[in-house]
C-alpha cells in the first residue's frame, strides 16, 4: 500500500494544483475567445480575427507560457517529502522498518509524482480544447497533444530536481525554498547564457513553432526532450544513491 500512502501524502497539493491549472486555463482561454465576439468588441476587432487561424494558435502558445510556470511550480511542490523529510517528522523509523528497499520507497514516490505531473499537464489542455470547441473556435487535437508532450517531456526534469533536493535538504521550508531557488537560477542561466539549451523555450514551443501559422510542428525537438529526460534520469539515480547511503 505504498502507492496509497504516496497518494495520501500528495493528495492536497495535487488537487489544489489541478484545480488552479484547470480553472486558470478555462477562464483565460474562455475570456480570450469570447472577448473577441461580444457586443462591445465586434469580432473584427477582437483577439481572434475571423479567418485568422494563426491568432488562435498564437493564443495557445501564450497559454503554454503561463501553464509551464504554474506546472513547474506544482511539480516541484509534488517532489517534496520522502523519507528524509519523514526523519524530521519522526516517522522514518516506521517507514524504514517495513520490508521494502529504500529504492522501492523512492520509486513509488517518483511513480506517483510522474502520474500526477502528467495529469496536471493533460487536464488544463483538455479544458482548453473543450472551451475552444464550445466557443465555436475548435483547435486541432494534435496541437493540444503536442503541447502536453512538450510540457511533460521537457519539464519532468524539474520534478526530478525536486526529488533530488528533497533527498538532500531536510527542512520543511528550506527544501522547497531551495528547489524554487534552483528553478529561478536555471531560468536565469538558461536565458542569459544557454539560450540554445533553454528548456523553457523547448516547452513553450520556441524550437518547433512555425512563426506564421503559430502551429507546432509534429517534428518535435526530440533531441532536446531526450536530453532533458536523460538529465532527469540522472537526477533520479543520484537521489537513489543519496537515499541509500543516508543514515537515519
Amino acid at each position: 500500500m505504498l502507492w496509497y500512502k504516496a497518494w495520501l501524502e500528495t493528495r492536497a497539493r495535487f488537487l489544489t494544483s489541478l484545480m488552479t491549472l484547470t480553472i486558470f486555463c478555462g477562464v483565460f482561454v474562455h475570456h480570450a475567445l469570447y472577448i473577441s465576439c461580444s457586443d462591445t468588441f465586434p469580432c473584427a476587432q477582437g483577439l481572434i480575427r475571423p479567418g485568422r487561424q494563426a491568432d488562435l494558435y498564437f493564443l495557445l502558445m501564450v497559454t503554454q507560457n503561463y501553464v509551464v510556470i504554474m506546472w513547474v511550480l506544482a511539480v516541484v511542490l509534488l517532489g517534496m517529502g520522502g523519507i528524509v523529510r519523514e526523519r524530521a517528522l519522526g516517522t522514518s523509523s516506521l517507514t524504514l522498518s517495513l520490508p521494502v528497499s529504500r529504492a522501492r520507497l523512492l520509486g513509488v514516490r517518483v511513480g506517483m509524482g510522474v502520474l500526477q505531473a502528467i495529469a496536471l499537464a493533460v487536464a488544463p489542455w483538455v479544458t482548453v480544447f473543450v472551451v475552444s470547441r464550445l466557443a465555436g473556435l475548435p483547435v486541432f487535437i494534435t496541437q493540444v497533444g503536442l503541447y502536453v508532450l512538450l510540457l511533460v517531456g521537457g519539464g519532468l526534469v524539474y520534478f526530478t530536481m525536486a526529488i533530488l533536493v528533497s533527498s538532500l535538504v531536510t527542512g520543511e521550508y528550506t527544501a522547497p525554498a531551495t528547489a524554487f531557488g534552483v528553478v529561478l537560477l536555471t531560468a536565469i542561466i538558461f536565458d542569459a547564457w544557454l539560450r540554445r539549451f533553454n528548456v523553457w523555450r523547448l516547452v513553450t514551443g520556441d524550437f518547433s513553432i512555425d512563426r506564421t501559422t503559430y502551429l507546432l510542428s509534429t517534428h518535435l525537438p526530440w533531441l532536446g526532450i531526450l536530453a532533458s529526460l536523460s538529465v532527469g534520469v540522472l537526477m533520479l539515480l543520484a537521489s537513489t544513491i543519496v537515499v541509500q547511503r543516508r543514515e537515519f
Binding site: 520490508p99 521494502v100 528497499s101 529504500r102 543514515e247
Partner: protein, 297 residues
C-alpha cells in the same frame, strides 16, 4: 533449545565523529526468551537497534539477526519481514486514520493475526475512524504496539515500549508481551522501567557508554548479587574485603556495606573471621544492580 541466537553481534561499533556511541559490542540474544536491554540515556541502546535494522551503518564490526547479515541491504530487508519493531517515539502517520494505519501495516506482512488485532482493538478501545494526529499520546502508543503485536514475527524488538502508558495500559502491554513469548516469539526490549523488566525478563543486558557491562539471566542476578551490611567495633578493615565478586565497598563510621555480584558467602566468612559485630545479608533488586554497575564505570 538455546542453541540458536536470534541476534548476534561481533565487535559492533558506531562512532559519530569523535563520539563513540557503541563500542565493540558482542551481544547474543537467545531464542524464545525475553531479553531486556538496560542503559542510561545516551548509552547506545537505540543506536544498536538501528544498526540491527539497517537504519544506521556500523563503523566497525558485524552482526546477524535471525541468521541474516545486518549490513547487507537485501538480507536486512528479508529479516525485517520476520521482525516486528516499535521505535521509541512510536511513529505513526498522522494523516491516516486508525483503520487506514492498520490496513497499511497489514498489507506488508503475511504473518498478520486478525484475531489478535480484533482483541487488542477492543482492549485498547481505539476509535477506528479517527486520524492518528488527533489521538492522545497513550492511544498512539497502544496503536503502535498493536501493529507489532498483531503479527507472529520470530523476533519482537521494542524500544521503551511502555513509555506513555497508564498503569492499566502497562498491565495489558506486559500481558500481551508474555502471551507473544509463550507463542515462541523472541523478545528484545529496552526499557527504563526496571520494575517491569524485573517481572518479565529472562535475560538482562546492561549497556553503558556503548559497552556491554552485564549479560546475565535474571535468575542468576537474583541468586548471586547480594549486599552485606557489616558493623565493626572499630574502623572497618576495607582492604580485607577486596575479594573476588566484591564490586563496591562503602564505609561510614563503623558500618560497612559490601556490594557483591557473587561469592557473598566468602564475604560473610571473612566478616566472621574479623569479628564483625553484626552481619546482615540482603538481596539486591535490579534497580540497585543497575545503579551500582553503571556508577562504578
Amino acid at each position: 533449545m538455546m542453541s540458536d541466537n536470534v541476534i548476534v553481534t561481533q565487535a559492533l561499533s558506531k562512532s559519530y565523529g569523535s563520539a563513540e556511541a557503541v563500542r565493540g559490542l558482542n551481544l547474543s540474544v537467545g531464542q524464545n526468551r525475553i531479553t531486556a536491554f538496560l542503559g542510561r540515556n545516551g548509552a547506545g541502546k537505540s543506536t544498536t537497534i538501528k544498526m540491527l535494522l539497517g537504519m544506521v551503518r556500523p563503523s566497525a564490526g558485524s552482526g546477524t539477526v535471525l541468521g541474516k547479515q545486518i549490513t547487507d541491504a537485501e538480507e536486512n530487508r528479508e529479516l525485517r519481514r520476520r521482525v516486528a519493531y516499535v521505535a521509541e517515539d512510536k511513529p505513526l502517520y498522522g494523516y491516516m486514520t486508525v483503520e487506514q494505519t492498520i490496513r497499511f501495516a497489514r498489507s506488508f506482512y503475511r504473518d498478520w493475526r486478525a484475531d489478535v488485532e480484533k482483541k487488542l482493538l477492543e482492549n485498547y478501545q481505539l476509535p477506528l475512524r479517527r486520524k492518528v494526529k488527533m489521538l492522545s499520546k497513550g492511544m498512539r502508543t497502544k496503536l503502535a504496539l498493536l501493529l507489532a503485536f498483531a503479527r507472529r514475527p520470530e523476533l519482537l524488538i521494542l524500544d521503551e515500549p511502555s513509555e506513555g502508558l497508564d498503569p492499566v495500559g502497562v498491565e495489558h502491554f506486559l500481558q500481551a508481551l508474555v502471551g507473544r513469548s509463550a507463542e515462541g516469539v523472541s523478545v528484545f526490549f529496552s526499557s527504563h522501567q526496571i520494575a517491569e523488566v524485573e517481572r518479565v525478563a529472562d535475560q538482562v543486558c546492561i549497556l553503558e557508554k556503548g559497552c556491554l557491562l552485564v549479560d546475565a539471566s535474571l535468575d542468576q542476578l537474583r541468586q548471586f548479587y547480594r549486599r552485606i551490611d557489616l558493623v565493626f567495633s572499630s574502623t572497618p578493615p576495607e582492604r580485607e574485603f577486596r575479594i573476588t565478586g566484591v564490586e563496591r565497598i562503602q564505609t561510614t563510621g563503623r558500618q560497612m556495606s559490601v556490594f557483591a555480584s557473587k561469592n557473598a558467602e566468602a564475604v560473610v566468612e571473612r566478616a566472621h573471621d574479623l569479628n564483625a559485630v553484626s552481619v546482615e545479608v540482603v538481596p539486591v533488586g535490579l534497580r540497585d544492580i543497575f545503579l551500582e554497575t553503571v556508577k562504578e564505570n
